[in-house]
Structures are given as C-alpha cells and as structure tokens.
Subunit: 343 residues, 3 copies
C-alpha cells in the first residue's frame, strides 16, 4: 500500500494535526514503527511512546492531550482502536481458498452451497447443509445432519458432532470441539455411574467467533445456545444446556458449568469458573480467576473466588496482604489490655 | 415413541400418582416441557417448576412432598435422575456407524476385530489391536502397537500415541490426546534443559469416559493409569505417572501434576490444581478452583487454594469478606486502649 | 540391554559404591524396581524407598548420605536426575518414521528437505518450507508460507496457520494450535464488536518443546515470539504479541494475556494467569494458580491471586486459616475494653 495521510484520514473519518501529504506505506505498533508507518494510541500505558515513536503518523482519540511536544503527525478520531481496526481490515489479505480439494469426503446426501471451500481431509457427514461462501479447512469433521450457515469459516482440525446448528458469519478456530456429550452421570447403587445420554444439540448464532481448542458440549435435552455476536477466546469450556447472551465476551480458560445462563453484553475474564444452574445478568463484568457460585444481578462487577463485588474484594484483598500487621496490632492490644487490667 | 404412563412406570420401576393411561410421546426438561412430554425433578432448585410445568408427567424422588397442589401426573422412584437417565437411554438413538470408510489407513500388521467402524482419514498404525464393536471416527490417530478393547468409541480428531492400552466400553471425545510425552526436563549446566525421555505408556481401564480436548500424558517409566469407571470432563490435564482410582469423577479444567495418586470414588470440581507426588485418599471431595498441595486422607472434603477442610474455609472466607470491619474494630480498640492508658 | 554397573557408571561419569560387576538389564522407578533394574533417587520424598528397593543399583547425588544401611549398589553423580535422563536417552527407541505416506497432500510449491517424514493425511500448504530430518505426523496441517526448520517433530493433529516460523529441534505435541487469530475486538456503537484483523504471525525458536492441546495465537501486528529452549506444558494459552524469553518453563493450564513479555529462565507453575501488557523479569518463579497483574522485577518469587512475594503470601495465608481465632481475640479485647472503660 501507499497512501497520503489525507487519504487515510478520510477513510477513518479523522482530523489531521500535522502534514496531510506525508506518505504512509505500512501499519505498525507504536513501539516498533518506522518512517512510513502509521500507528495508533489507545491504551494509556503506551502514551510515553508517542513522544518518541518513529511512526510517520499516529491515530489517537479525540480527547488525547499531549503533555510534551509530539513530533509525529496525528489523526484524531472518536475511537482510535476501532479506527485502527478498520484500517487493518482494509489492508489485510482475504482468505482466497475456494472449491473442493482432493481427498475431501462429502456424503452424497449433503447439500453444499455456492462458492464453498472444502479442504483436503475434510469430512462432511450425511444430510449436512453448508451455506454459500462458507470455508471448511482440512481435517475438519462435520457430523451427520449438522447445518452450517453462510460465509462461515471453520479452520483446520475442528470437530462438530451431529445435528448441531451453526449460523452465518461464524468463525471457529482450530482444535475446537462443538457438540461432544455433556458431562452427565447418575450414580448407580454401589460406586459406578450410569451415563446420562446427551440427546440435545448445540446452536451457534450469527457473528459468533470461537477461539482455538475450545469446547461447547451438546445439551442433555434441547440445546446449548451461543447467541449472536458472542466472542469466545481459547480453551473455553461451555457445559451442556448453558446459554450465553448476545455480544458477551469471554477470555481464555474460563469454564461455565451445566445449565448456567449468562446475559448479554457481559465481559468475563480469563480462568473464571461458574457453578451450574445459576443466572448471570446483562452487562456483568467478572475479573480473571473469579469463581461465581450464585446468581448475579445486571450491571454487577465481580472478582475473587468466591466472587465479591469489586469494591469489597479490593479492600479485603489489601487487608489480606496486611494480615500480619493486623495480627501484630492485636497482640499489642492484648498486652495493653492485660496491663490495663493489672493497673 | 408413544407409551402410556403405566408402561413407562413399569420400565423404571416406579409408582404412579395420577392418570396411568395418559399418553407420553417425548422427554423434555421441566421448564420447557409441553403436553405429551415426560420430565423429571431431582435438583431442588427446580422444585418451583413442578407446580407450573405443562409436562403430562414428572418423575420425582419417592420422598418428594409437594407444598402446593401439583397438576401434572407423577411417577415416584428411588432416584429420579437415574430413572430419567434409564428412560433417555431407552429412546436415544444408537450410533450405527459400521465398516471401513474410504481413505482410512490401516497398517497391514494391525488386528481389527468384528463389527468395527473405522472412519475416513482414521490412521491405524503398526501392530495396533482393535477389539470387536469398537468405533474409530474420522481423523483419529492410533499410534503403533496401541491396543484398544471392545465396544469402545473414539470420536473424531483424537490422538492416541504408540504403545498405549485402552480398555473395553471406553469413550474418548474429540480433540483428546492420550500418551503425549510427560513434562520432564533436567536442567543442564547453564540455563538450558535436557529432555527426560518418556518411555512409559498410558493404561485406560474399562468403562472410562474422557471428555473433549483432555490430555493424559504417558509415564516416564511404567504407566499413567486411569482405573475402571473413571469419568473425566473436558480439558483435564493428567500428567505423567499419575494414577486415578476407580469411579473417580473430575470436572473440567482440572490439572493433576506428575506422580500424584488419586483414590477411588472421589469427586473433584472444576479448575482444581493438584501438586505432584501427593496421595489423595478414597471418597475425597474437592471444591472447584481448589489447590491441593499435600496428601489428603480418605473421606476429606476440601476447598480453597491452598485447600482447607470445607468447614474452616467457609468460616475464613466469610471473615475475609468482613476484613474491613475487623480492621475498623482494631482501630477503635487502639483508640480506647490509648484513652485507657491516658486515664 | 545388558550391561555391567561399571559400564553404566562410566557412561554417566559416576562413582560406584558396591559391586561394579552386577548386571543391569532395565531401568525402573525406585518403588517398582526388581533385580536387574537400575533406578535413581533425586526427589527427597522418595528417600525412604532406597532402604527397601529391590533395584540392583540406584543412581544418587554425590551428597547423598544414607541414614540406614543401604543394600543396593550405588552410583554417585553430580545430578542424579540428569544422569538418569542421559541413561534413559541412551536406551529409549528413536522415532524411525521416514518418507512420505499415502494420502499426504503436499502443495507443488512446497520445499521439502531430506529425510523428512510426512504422514498420511498431513496437509502441507502453498510455499511451505520443511527442513531436513523433520517429521510431520498424520493429520497435521501446515498453513501456506509457514517455514519449519530441521529435526523438528510435529505430532498428529497439530494445526499451524499460515506464515508462521518454527525453528530447528522443536517438538510440538498433538492437538496444539499455532497461529490462530489473537482475541481482539473493538466495540462498535451499540453492543456488537468489530473484529481486529490479526495480520502478524508466530515465531518459535530452536529447541522449544510445546505440550499437547496448547495454543499460541498470532500477533495483531509483528510476531508472538517463543524464544530458544522454552518448554511449555499442555493447555498453555499464549495470547497475541506475547514474548516468552529463553529457557523459561511453564506448567499446564497457564494463560498469558496479550502483549505481556516474560523474561528468560523463569519457572511458572500451573493454572497461573497473567494480565496483558505487563513485563515479567528474568529468573522469576511463580507458584501454581497465581494471578499476576503488575510488572515483576528480576529474581522475584511470587504466589497468590493477586500475587504477593512468596514470604508475605505464606504468612497471610496462615493467618487467613486462623481468621476465626483473630476474630475471637478481637471480641475478647472489645469486652475488656468495655470493662476497662466502665472501671
């Protein structure tokens, strides 16, 4: 690519401070950028770098007020991270895979849409439906009667069991497993267990993205449901009959136990655990490594294991650090109390 | 299906309260059930739904005593969850895969039993043995000299390394890895590491079920052993030389470090971590997110990181929430103590 | 194998105490060893077994001083664990796979070195480079333009996305995913998200070993980097733009958030979480299940969530156990204080 700063600014609806004619040929992060690169500043942690970056221009938030002279050119926008994302989208290469490669197995009853890519060693089972423009990479397994929508990307080594429903514009990364049996066993007399058959399925709505090596179990009855726009990171465990509301975002290694319902627009940190059969409201935020064992109302911010509202946890956590001090002060008080008594 | 309630009750050894002739055509959960459905009530959290369910019948525990009038018909049994499981088993479709699909690779030295299913792209190595009625789904890899028993299901994209032993009636879900090298490195002079070869194997006994994307490492010497009837959820890490006793159940994201031995009939929550070289007794229960660093005697109930007996943890945990209050009371006491001194 | 103890001692640079002519035919661990076996003692937890082992010889550290008579023969070395590892290496079978198996797909533009093994159902994309002596096991996927060095082992069902760089003498176990998209989404007006394209890659340097079912995400821009000699266990989450320094070792289920830099020679326990955009120094040790939220200086030892220096954590942790006692003592003091006031 090669554009003037003016052209870029127009594309992302920005306002230039500096030389509109400077030439931009690449995108780079603010620490590593060189002449000819454009970068962005969004996380305040990186503010010091704007005073020394070699980038020819930096995209910043409208409210950015430099505390020292800035040598680089600026484009001011409403949301620098989003503008950067739009720019990156414009220049990033599209996946151009197309057609059916050798050694793909497609059951004769499967219905395959237009402009579909099916890689070598992909396995498309009986009565599977695959929508237009969808890409199934090598080594992925699509079980019998599963339906996949349009413009969806299933990367390599994904396993989708039978009778699941995957929407449009969905992305599923490598190693992820959709529709394995939920973890249900009824104790027998004695010590062994009777497997509870898992006869439900998984429904994944449109615009969902699921990272690598995650696992969404099928429901015992009815469906495990991932609503529109949900973003799951890597290693997410979604147990049977869970439902995750629209646009909720969950970071890596988090596990959600059976039948729990999460609302929409939640942000859940990494390594969080949630008990089964609970209800998390909308717009809830949960700090990393928290353990949620009870229902959570809308708009709550939680952290800790077991989780507390953020304000309480932070205080208790600081005091935990100082427990030794507390302890010493009690000993001191006990001495004084003794002295007083003896007075 | 279409049965009278009487027929169903006979099948699960129950006692009817209500209309024995009502017709049942489906199974559903108590919240979503419609006329013609049978449901069950086991978790007390769902008791309120029995008063408003539209199910034509509900299976309940013998000791269930309604607090309000119940409109639906009841089948009373010893264990409602188990009876429901038996019913589900009766109506759930069996996997009917059979025979060897195109593009399966089977080494000429492998011994394949009767009525075996080997899916496309399955890879069966040198001297592998596969028992009667076993199913190997597409994309699964069975390394050289590994032996798999009878009536075992290996779902898609499973990797089993060489020389492992898998029993009868075992189920292994997609993405799981059996027999990768244990994590052993001896420090060299300087800072680098020398890999410790892992020349042992993994033994999985009969009736074990392992969820999706789990990992059981091979032993350095001898065997990592999963005993009869063990149930492992998704993302379970079992390090080299671990042994897990009969009928122990472990929830998702739990990790067990090298050479640790777990007894039989334990129930281990999700996201639990166990140190290496420790011994967990029989009938031990461990709460989610616990960290176990020492040996645990039989019948113990533990929670927390580091783990405490449940009773102690709960008390300390409540007091942790109130640390601020404790702190204020100490400040108050110090003031008083000062006042007293100055008296 | 069949060697005299003298031959073995010479090979590992040891000093014999006992019968140099005793015949050794196998290696076993100290608890299970039989006549004819050689074993080793390194972890002091296993010291009691040296007095009752049936092993014909045991390798011990030079400074081992028996407290009771030892019946077995000893080889004394500088580092028993390392000597054992060298011995194991000498006798452990090498992987002898070679050549290209049927049903492997290799793009005509790919460059394949000498003495390479490419298993059935391996997929080698456009412009891929594979160095001499490298082994790609069945079902592994190597995306377009990815380069793999010499003498590297990629086990079955591994997915490596496009444009990544893997060094020499690297080992990657089954189910691991290299180069999936980093987890980056910019909020739109309203509640939905705009995906931030991930156009960087992953670089893995020489002598790295990565366990089963781990995941190293590609960078948004530039590279996620795993430096020479790093050892990662199973289920490790490495987010976009992370860098891990030379010879750092990380145990299972640990997750590292985006843009965090870890120094060299660190030892990180299992189930640890690290926040994004932080810097961990060199020679840092982190206890299992810790949560690191701030920068960490060189040589620090940390534990807890949020993490504290080890000494402080241990004290606070003991006091946490005794919170109930603290609480009772405060109540007692309050009573006394009241009494004193009333005096």
């Amino acid at each position: 690519m090669k554009y003037t700063l003016q052209q870029i600014s127009n594309y992302i609806n920005g306002e230039i401070e500096g030389d509109a004619q400077v030439e931009i040929s690449n995108i780079a992060n603010i620490k590593e950028a060189k002449t000819g690169d454009i970068s962005f500043l969004s996380n305040p942690k990186y503010t010091p770098f704007i005073y020394k970056t070699k980038a020819s221009a930096v995209i910043v938030n409208k409210d950015f007020k430099p505390e020292k002279p800035v040598k680089t050119n600026l484009i001011k926008v409403d949301d620098a991270y989003k503008a950067f994302s739009i720019l990156l989208e414009a220049i990033s290469p599209k996946i151009e895979k197309n057609g059916i490669e050798e050694f793909a197995v497609i059951h004769p009853t499967a219905k395959i849409g237009k402009d579909v890519y099916i890689g070598s060693f992909a396995y498309i089972g009986e009565n599977v439906v695959i929508g237009d423009g969808t890409k199934i990479f090598p080594h992925s397994y699509i079980g019998d009667a599963t339906e996949i929508g349009k413009e969806t990307n299933i990367f390599s080594n994904v396993s989708i069991y039978h009778q699941c429903i995957i929407g449009n514009h969905v992305t599923i990364h490598s190693g992820t497993v959709i529709g394995a049996d939920g973890f249900g066993f009824a104790p027998n007399n004695g010590d062994s267990f009777q497997k509870v058959p898992q006869v439900g399925n998984v429904i994944i709505e449109d615009y969902v993205e699921i990272g690598a090596n995650s696992s969404i179990d099928r429901a015992t009855l009815s469906s495990t449901i991932i609503r529109r726009g949900v973003k799951l990171d890597n290693f997410i465990q979604v147990a049977h009959n869970v439902e995750i509301g629209e646009n909720t975002v969950i970071a890596a290694h988090t596990g959600i136990s059976g039948s729990t319902k999460i609302g929409s627009n939640c942000m859940i940190g990494g390594q969080v655990g949630m008990a089964g059969h609970i209800k998390i409201g909308n717009n809830v935020r949960v700090g990393a490594q928290s353990g949620i064992i009870n229902d959570v109302p809308d708009n709550e911010i939680l952290i800790g294991s077991p989780a507390l509202p953020y304000r309480n946890f932070k205080k208790s956590s600081i005091l935990f650090k100082n427990l030794e001090d507390l302890y010493k002060r009690i000993i001191e008080l006990e001495k004084n109390s003794q002295t007083n008594k003896n007075d």
